[in-house]
Structures are given as C-alpha cells and as structure tokens.
Amino acid sequence: MSSGYRLGAHEALGTPAAVLAAGYVGYGALSADIGLSVWSTLLSTIVIWALPGQLILVEMSSSGAPLIAILLAVSFSAVRFLPMTVSLLPALRAPAHGRGKEYFAAHLIAMTGWVAAMRRAPDLPEVERLPYFVGFALALWLVSIAATGAGYLIAGTLPPVSKSAFVFMNPLYFLLIMLGDARTRLMVMSLAGGAIFGPLFHLLAPQWSVLAGGLIGGSVAFALHRIASRNG
C-alpha cells in the first residue's frame, strides 16, 4: 500500500475523526428521534456523506415537506461540491492515477477532508497526493458511518439532556469550521447573507428556506462584492 494512504488515514484518525464522529453520533440520534429506520440512516451517511445535506433531509422529512422540495434542497446544498471538486482535483492529480480513481475520490470530498488536502497536498510528492486524500477521507467516512449507527442505537438510552447536546454539536461544528475557514471578505459576506436570509425565509416558507435563503443571500453577497470591487 502506498505510504500516502497510511499517512492520510493516520492524520485523519485524531481530532478530525473525533469531532466528526461526535457530530454523526448526534445525527444518528436525531434521525432515530425523527423516526427514520437504522438502515436508511446508515445509507444516508454512506451515499450522501455531507452532514448539512443529511440534516436538511432529516429535518425536512420530519416537517412533512414535499419529496421534490427535499430532493431540490439536498441537491442545492451539495452544489458547493462542484467548485470544491474542481479546485481540489488539480492539487491531487498525477499522471500515475487514472480518471477512475478521481471519480471514486470525488465521492469522499466533504468539508474536513477538503480543507486538510488543500493544505497538505502541496508538501507531498505528486504521486502521494491523491492517496493521501483518499486515506484521509476514507478513514473519516468509515468512522462516521460507525458513529451514525452508534448514535442511532444509543438514542433511546441517552439521557435527553446529553442527546440534545450531541445534536447541538452539529450546528456548532459547522459554525466553527465555517468561521475558521472564512478567509476572504466574499466568504464572510456570503455566510452573513445566508445567516440573514435563511432564517427569514424559514419564517415565510420553512420547506424552501435553505434553497431560497442560499440563492438570495449568496446572490446579494455576490452583487455587493462586484459593486465594491468595481468601485474600489
């Protein structure tokens, strides 16, 4: 096995895995609370592998949103993977790795692994970059699947106080990783736009809030940024 895989897995199995596992224990417990089956819950982590999308799925299902609205909201929340993938792959690409490997690696792209690989890949030999990312993200994925199952199974035995605290770790984790990663003014403006319009749309039409809040909030941030950079 290439040393890149081992290095990636080794670096993932510390704080990144611990934090994600805690979040997925909360997600599993939330999903159990809302009444999804254990298999559906595990399947959601396996095939979606994006906690925000999974939270949208579970929360919208519980509020009885139309299926088409759930599907649209989940896929729109995953639009970020397009630019993330486009920007990450050139950093991992090497002639030794075929396109097939890249299509497999793409499924594993999510916030934590993306941030880690963007930071670490330039230090590694070209041929070890893709293995590093796959090792890192695959380890996180497997730990998260296990944590989802664990969270689901212990949901009933968790005291209500700790259950809500586990679930609370999901938005908390996103808040920290978002604010910690918001390096540019445009990122900050987009986050703020979403933070304003998302909850606002939630008051008007809860099932469309993620979609509409993101489109309006993001577009306002984009427009303001364009105007500001044209004048500045």
Binding site: L179, A195, G198, P199
Partner: protein, 108 residues
C-alpha cells in the same frame, strides 16, 4: 421503502455535483463569475442552515432554550478562537459541555 429510495436519490444528486466537478476540473476556470456566484450561494446555504438550526431548531434541539444555545455557542467560539488556537475538538467539546451544564441548571 420510499424513504430508502429518497435517500438513494439524494445521494445520487449529491454525487452528481462531485462527478461533474471531476468532469469540469482542468477544463473550467475556477475564477469565472459563475463559479464565484455558485460558491457564494453554497456558503450562504450552509451559513443560513447553521444559523437557522441555532435560532429555530426542529426536533429534539427545540427542547433547549434559545439563551442556552446562544451561551453555549458563545463558549465554543471563545474556546475555539481565543483559548485553544482554533482547536475544533476543544471548541466543539466546550460547547457540548456548556450545553449539558446549562440544561442541568434549567432543571434545578
């Protein structure tokens, strides 16, 4: 069964963006206006979702009070940015502990 199908379709829809990214990577400029805009919308969606869950949660989180959530989030932000040099483990962990302590205090 319908539930499993919906999740499978949601998974396929999520992968679509990742797969499309592989197809386009190397061929498309990541600094074009459309890409910047798509990134803005993605950040706004995640920002909006996160703040909405903190302010107006559904399900079990709705049982916690708004002041408790705000205080616990403030503790996590303080530990993450000021006290632990951006250590996610300590940041999220402190918010978790704060939420448990606050919830227990409510019961007294």
């Amino acid at each position: 069964m319908a539930e499993t199908l919906l999740i499978a379709i949601c998974g396929a829809a999520t992968y679509l963006w990742r797969g499309l990214g592989v197809m386009l990577s190397g061929r498309i400029r990541t600094d074009s206006a459309v890409f910047v805009w798509v990134g803005c919308v993605a950040w706004a969606m995640i920002g909006g979702l996160t703040v909405r869950i903190l302010l107006m949660p559904a399900g079990i989180l709705a049982e916690t009070s708004l002041p408790d959530r705000m205080i616990a989030a403030a503790v996590a932000l303080l530990v993450f940015f000021v006290l632990s040099r951006r250590n996610l483990f300590f940041g999220v962990g402190s918010g978790f502990v704060a939420m448990i302590v606050l919830s227990l205090l409510q019961r007294i």
